[in-house]
């Protein structure tokens, strides 16, 4: 069953952000949501993540699902090491040994095994965001919500994080809803890309990308074409 939002209405500080808005997310795929900043992308994620109540509208398929969240800033607990930050979200009822094994597994997946005992203050921004990715996958969720987690990182780090993310996802295909304003990020990660308008939000473009997410290059011709269409839709 797909995850669906139907006829969503939401006002925020007196502004109408969503007015009869509908969108669907095929399960086990990555949906990238592109849109100008301040258009309500984060509001949409917060509604999906149940941190914000819609004024009206129905969400189907979300009820029984658990979600992880990769925030814009990594939101790691500064007093916990990398390992303990990941253990933090792993079920306390599991045997200690299994919890540690699980944490180690995800630390390895994001290439941080040497840094497992480090505190976040000793890590670079990109490394912290990798911990946040590991934490999101270590939590037994069905959906992963991402709110511009690559913001503020340089292009090399971005590509590296996208590579790491796509490799983990390839082996563990959860439903990902990835909000960004960067077309390149969307092109590299999305199975489908949705372009939103300014508030009140409407979908102005919906593209499917067939190439596997682990092996994409922005230089490919079909990508250049798609990029142009997306940029046009975004109005720049």
């Amino acid at each position: 069953m797909n995850l669906e939002i139907k006829n969503l209405y939401k006002k925020y500080d007196g502004n109408t952000i969503f007015k009869d808005f509908s969108i669907g997310f095929p399960e086990g795929t990555i949906t990238c949501i592109l849109g100008p900043s301040g258009c309500g992308k984060t509001t949409l994620l917060n509604i999906i993540g149940n941190m914000l109540k819609p004024d009206r509208g129905t969400l189907t398929g979300f009820d029984s699902k658990a979600a992880s969240y990769i925030f814009q800033d990594p939101r790691l607990l500064p007093w916990k090491t990398v390992e303990d930050n990941i253990l933090f979200v792993i079920n306390k009822e599991l045997p200690e040994e299994e919890r540690r094994r699980k944490a180690d597994q995800f630390i390895r997946l994001v290439d941080l095994e040497e840094f497992a005992k480090y505190y976040p203050s000793k890590l670079s921004g990109g490394m912290r965001q990798r911990v946040s990715i590991a934490r999101a996958f270590a939590f037994p969720s069905d959906i992963i919500l991402m709110d511009e987690p690559l913001n503020g990182l340089d292009i090399k780090l971005k590509l590296n994080l996208i590579r790491i993310f796509s490799l983990i996802w390839q082996a563990d295909k959860r439903t990902v809803i990835f909000v960004t304003h960067d077309v390149d990020e969307a092109l590299l990660l999305g199975n489908q890309i949705v372009v939103l308008s300014q508030a009140p939000v409407q979908i102005i473009k919906h593209e499917k990308v067939e190439a596997p997410v682990t092996n994409r290059s922005l230089d490919a011709d079909n990508f250049k074409d798609l990029k142009k269409r997306l940029m046009d839709a975004l109005g720049n």
């Binding site: 993540g49 941190m51 992880s68 800033d73 939101r75 607990l77 007093w79």
Partner: protein, 251 residues
Amino acid sequence: MKNSFISKQFISLASVIFLLAVWKILALHFNSDFILPPPEKTFITTLGLFGNSHFLAIVGSTVLRGLIGFIISCILGLGLGIIAGISPDFSAFLRPILVVTRSTPVIALILLALIWLSPGLVPVFIAMLTMFPFICTNVIDGIKSVDPDLVGMATFYRISQRRIIREVYIPAILPFIISGASSAMGIGWRAVITGEVLSQPQYGIGTVMQGAQTFLNVDAVIAWTILAVLISFGFEKAIRWCERKLILWRS
């Protein structure tokens, strides 16, 4: 880095030597043990204190009073501070009480305590009243400084309320508790000794200082003072040590 550390220590040492030199010059100038005994004589008197048959009882009583006052104010400060940090209403209720206790002159509190309490309890009560506002205010500030985004993250990952308090709130306010404890201790020892001077319990540094002052044993007054400074310094070091052990994650 190492160099600047050494040179800082050197400067601190120079400052101590400067103090001793000024003291020595003044002592030579007055040339009277009843006004200002020279540092070397006072130093010998300080060493002699350890030979005092009641030394342990005297120092122990003062330290014990300070610690009891500190522990009570910690319990009160933490408890009330956490409630005030969570509830703005209770915070508004508590603020004036904290301001009043903090701005009341210590001597006024002592004079009242002398009327109400037994001599041994006066310094404890004073220590508690002077330390409590520091700890409580810091706990309130600490709770307010807890990053709501971290609490949001923990809630999103379905962490229980109890674990959020233990693993998010408490570690976040720990540095504030320690810095509150440090300022509280600094002021607390002075309050305890002032209380002892006026209430005259059987044993206590304040009691013996008052006795020495009565007989113009200026060297003894200064010797006990040096001891009081050392005790305060020792506790400050202990708090800093705890800080380093507990807050490894900073820096």
